[in-house]
Amino acid sequence: MRIVCPFCGERELGEFTYLGDAKPVRPAAGASEDEVFDYVYLRDNIAGAMSEYWYHGGGCRAWLKITRNTLTHEISSVEPAAGVGARQVAR
């Protein structure tokens, strides 16, 4: 598999590490235990296009949000994951 890193260009799979579903958003500080439980544990098991976190540890160390078809491994988009999992957290 090849991933086109927005910062480094097309690179080989071995440079990247997979984390998982990029859909869950970290709940705010005051969230209930149930909300956080969902964030930590509940994942969809998608047969088709799925947004995922990948880490370019062998390159620029950017976290990327990648849309990958889990049936064909076709990658339809790669973008920086900056702020993707963020919700306003109490400071």
Partner: protein
């Protein structure tokens, strides 16, 4: 020298008669020529019997002339280089080659295991499941050993492979599989268009079927066209031809796997050269011109030595000048089979008869038969007389119902051609049925891949050239290369006519899968027993599951299944195709990553010095760490470790701790960021101070710990455990980038930039004053416990000094740029001589941390919470942090959790072992009474007995209780007392002194 090759023609062929070679097969010496394969040389020497079959030990000969060979498998080479299941049909002959037949005892000609044939009725499909079900315990004791002795293929070498293997990457615009007419035409078109081309050919010669079948291209003989084409390709700037290279797999994103047999054609690789090279090729486009595989017809006795694919027979005659038989019979259902007759007659061989399943043989063929004096019979071969010495006679069922017999010593069989659909089907593409050739052709090929020529079901020479050229030009264009491809090569198309024929009913075993001994009757049985789906058929009968992956058998097998189940062949369908297309040695996948190079080795800055001291090293992940430093006269490691611990506690010692992960955290929000990733607070840490920190995972379990220091208002220096250095960096980057983008903070991994040493013991300050610039004040007032700041060393080198202690002693950790690590350690030894400085290893480090009750890897095991470790009070209630909410879950805060507690044996002479389970005194050991286990143990020189840490249910409420340690693994049972985990200096006076 042995020169007699009775079945070698006097002239012709692509062998080099000026380069004779000797080789041995089953201990007997034979001669051959450069350019032979082992199979062609055996044929030239009249050897027909080359192996015994997998299950029934039936005598087998050579069936094909290529990598689809199911029968002629040998053990090639000897000793550590012995390679089982090597196809004689692809093994290039070299001088001194040694090969042995497989799966026979005591000899190939007299194989006692052939008795299996007498029990054939129990060896039918599914026999494992049916025969060996009961009694269950007989499986391991009786059945499996017996089956393993009786059935099987070659023997592995049983010794380490002495050769080297390599892995390499290549990139191109157009990748081409195969160098037959379609492949060469594709390379011409793509190369002329300006594309970067790689062409892989598994054979050592280029040309594919042209090598044996010839023909006329652009008005010249095929051989001349091939050499002109290769000459032109050589002039193109970016066309790379790789022979002896098989494209075996297709992976995502245009990545392909190929195996290059760099030196398999030599007795052993020349010095400093590899045996094989595994290529990963990244290509924008791929043209599959891998040709087609001729398919057998299934009839009784079709596995007799001397029965051979028609195309293979003419390959041996035309390419190798080796004659498999003197009086050849042909059984065909198609026009192409007749080319073998023409080739045999051209070489001066006799034709015994042609049995053609088609009623309408052409007038030209009939005229040829009349001229050469052989009969053309319309019908089917229904039986073969013969055995280990080869075919003697064939029985024929004539179309009218009558029977005939023909004497022959070699039967050529052609059931038509199956396009090689492997590569095009590896992304779960299902090939589609094409009626006019009665074969599956590629469909649903992976993105960027196109099949051309015979691999695409176009069998005529002209069509192969046209399709190959067009595919090459189109591939170049879509890769952005639009140069002038010029004119395509031109040739005529042969007539193609075929009457589908898969199976001739008859008495005796009719083999579908030669390598796994699957017969037509097995397939019929599978259907009767309900294993009708092709995937079930495959697994129940093992059809197509041998090392040849059913290249000659799969389509015939499912055609027979279609017939008995009353379905069409396309309705029956194919199984899923999976790589590799040919077997690939595990050694090639490993490449250079074996033995000491299995993974990278990381050396600490003091490694070379430590090695000079005779340190014993331990592998810690990729690191080699000094475990202890033995001295002459010490009888074992324990004596050494005890000395090291006492030297630290009584004087001063040092230990390389550079393996800890180190991260610089910069930015105005650095403190706020650390507050969110640690359970405790760092934003309020004073500049010049260090603090112990604990991180959780988002699920509330402890992730990692370490000391973090504030070196400036906007600069923290964070350390991680050795094991989690990489993962914590990744985790923190995730937090920074994905979760908290609003924070202005940057992370830099500096693990390799700093050499770090722990200097510990009451004389630490004395030693440091010899190293550090005298202007630096190291007094307790100026540099108190948990102080951290930059200092200058004598000579002006900048260093970082941290007053932190893992050992419980008065201690500092000192960091210098990694390049000074070696100099620092040598200076510590010099300067410390007067104080009796003692280097200590990880073992003494571990002893002192257990004595001090510090948790480490065995306690930070992914199932413990901060409270379990006795660190629950560190969890801030005034801020959000990773893992906060989940750590508050009822079960994670429950009173009866297993928590860290100290243990010591009631018998002070008793050695403790980690892993022993903790059982309440008087209870029966077992899961119901299991209250935890011992995590870490050591012999404490300070307490003069073994001590340890354990995770025990409500452990800290039970201090003083005697419990039972149960160690069924080592057969040990003893009593231990639960105690305060801080065995040494519980009020911490020493480290603050």
């Amino acid at each position: 020298m042995i020169t007699s090759q009775p079945n070698r023609l006097a002239s012709g062929g692509l062998i080099d008669r000026s380069a004779p070679l000797n080789f041995r097969f089953d201990g007997k010496t034979f001669a051959g020529f450069q350019g032979d394969t082992l199979a062609s040389a055996l044929i030239a020497n009249g050897v027909k019997l080359v192996g015994r079959s997998f299950k029934y030990h039936r005598p087998r000969g050579i069936l094909t002339a290529g990598s689809e060979e199911p029968n002629a498998l040998v053990e090639l080479r000897t000793g550590a280089r012995r390679e089982p299941n090597t196809k004689a049909t692809t093994a290039e002959l070299y001088d001194g080659l040694e090969a042995a037949s497989q799966n026979r005892w005591p000899s190939l000609r007299h194989d006692l295991m052939a008795v299996n044939q007498l029990f054939a009725s129990i060896f039918v499909a599914g026999f494992y499941y049916k025969t060996f079900m009961w009694p269950a315990k007989f499986w391991e004791a009786v059945y499996e050993p017996a089956i393993r002795r009786a059935a099987g293929l070659g023997r592995a070498a049983g010794a380490a492979d002495p050769d080297h293997y390599d892995k390499a990457w290549a990139h191109c615009d157009v990748l081409i599989a195969g160098s037959g007419p379609a492949g060469l035409a594709a390379a011409l078109a793509a190369g002329r268009s300006g594309a970067r081309v790689i062409l892989c050919e598994e054979d050592f010669l280029l040309g594919g079927r042209l090598l044996a079948d010839g023909g006329t291209i652009d008005g010249m003989p095929a051989a001349e066209w091939v050499s002109r084409t290769l000459a032109e390709l050589a002039t193109l700037p970016d066309v790379r031809i790789m022979n002896r290279t098989t494209l075996f797999g297709v992976y995502d994103g245009g990545t392909y796997g190929a195996i290059e047999r760099v030196n398999d054609h030599l007795p052993s690789p020349p010095e400093h050269q590899v045996r094989q090279r595994l290529w990963r090729i990244v290509a924008k486009r791929c043209v599959v011109a891998a040709g087609a595989i001729e398919r057998p017809i299934v009839f009784a006795g079709n596995d007799t030595p001397g029965v051979m694919m028609a195309s293979a027979m003419r390959t041996y005659v035309a390419r190798y000048s080796a004659t498999p038989a003197k009086r050849i019979a042909l059984f065909t259902n198609n026009e192409d089979g007749w080319r073998t007759v023409e080739a045999a007659l051209g070489a001066g061989l006799q034709i015994a008869a042609v049995v053609d399943a088609r009623p309408d043989v052409s007038a030209a063929h009939r005229a040829l038969a009349a001229k050469a004096g052989f009969a053309v019979l319309n019908g089917f071969v229904s039986g073969v007389d013969g055995g280990k010495d080869g075919v003697k006679k064939i029985s024929i069922s004539l179309a009218g119902g009558a029977r005939a017999e023909v004497e022959t010593d070699g039967l050529a069989v052609s059931g038509g051609w199956n396009p090689a659909v492997g590569l095009t089907s590896y992304h779960r593409g299902r090939p589609k049925w094409q009626d006019d050739i009665s074969a599956f052709v590629p469909d649903g090929a992976p993105p960027g891949m196109e099949a051309a020529g015979a691999a695409n079901g176009a069998f005529g020479l002209g069509a192969c050239l046209r399709q190959g050229f067009a595919a090459g030009a189109a591939a170049a264009q879509s890769a952005g290369r639009d140069g002038n491809a010029g004119a395509p090569p031109v040739a005529d198309d042969e007539a193609f006519s075929l009457t589908p024929l898969w199976h001739v009913a008859g008495k005796g075993k009719a083999f579908v899968d030669y390598q796994h001994d699957v017969t037509a009757a097995d397939i019929e049985l599978a259907q009767r027993e309900g294993f009708e789906s092709v995937e079930h058929l495959k697994r129940y009968t093992t059809l197509g599951m041998a090392t040849d992956q059913g290249k000659t058998s799969n389509v015939a097998g499912l055609a027979i299944m279609a017939a008995v189940s009353g379905k069409s062949i396309p309705e029956t369908g194919t199984t899923i195709y999976r790589p590799p297309y040919v077997p690939v040695a595990i050694g090639a996948f490993a490449g250079q990553h074996r033995d000491e190079n299995f993974h990278a080795t990381r050396l600490t800055p003091s490694h070379h010095w430590a090695a000079e001291q005779g340190a014993v090293f331990v592998d810690t992940g990729l690191w080699k760490r000094a475990q202890w430093y033995p001295r002459a006269g010490e009888k074992d490691w324990l004596e050494t470790v005890i000395r090291e611990v006492k030297a630290v506690r009584g004087g001063v010692g040092f230990c390389d701790v550079s393996t800890l992960g180190k991260i610089d955290v910069h930015g105005p929000d650095a403190g706020a960021f650390l507050d969110r990733v640690y359970i405790n607070t760092f934003s309020n840490l004073a500049v010049g101070k260090a603090r112990y920190g604990l991180m959780l995972r988002e699920d509330g379990m402890v992730y990692d710990d370490g000391t973090t220091s504030r070196l400036a208002e906007d600069h923290y220096f964070l350390t991680t455990t050795t094991a989690k250095a990489g993962p914590v960096m990744q985790h923190l980057e995730f937090c920074r980038q994905v979760l908290f983008p609003e924070l202005n903070v940057q992370l830099t991994s500096v693990s390799d930039q700093w050499a770090q040493f722990s200097i510990a013991g009451p004389k630490t300050r004395d030693l440091l004053r010899e190293i550090v610039d005298p202007a630096e004040d190291l007094s307790n007032e100026a540099f108190p416990f948990m102080g951290a700041r930059k200092v200058s060393l004598r000579g002006g080198i900048g260093a970082r000094l941290f007053r932190i202690s893992f050992s419980g002693e008065m201690a500092f950790e000192i960091s210098v740029p990694a390049r000074y690590g070696d100099a620092l350690v040598r200076n510590l030894m010099l300067a410390g001589k007067q104080f009796g400085v003692t280097p200590y290893g990880t073992e003494a480090l571990g002893v002192m941390r257990i004595e001090k009750g510090h948790v480490a890897g065995p306690e930070l095991n992914g199932t413990t919470t901060a409270a379990d470790l006795g660190l629950g009070k560190m969890m801030s209630t005034r801020k959000d942090f990773i893992g906060r909410v989940m750590a508050g879950r009822e079960a994670l805060a429950a009173r009866d959790r297993q928590v860290v507690v100290g243990i010591k044996a009631t018998d002070s002479a008793r050695r403790l072992r980690s892993g022993a389970h903790v059982i309440p005194k008087g209870e029966i050991p077992g899961p119901a009474n299991d209250q935890g286990y011992i995590t870490s143990v050591c012999f404490s020189p300070t307490l003069d007995q073994w001590i340890g840490l354990a995770l025990v249910e409500r452990g800290r409420d039970r201090i003083g209780e005697i419990v039972h340690a149960h160690d069924p693994l080592r057969g040990e049972d003893y009593d231990v007392e639960l105690c305060n985990p801080v065995f040494y200096d519980p009020d911490g006076g020493r480290q603050r002194g």
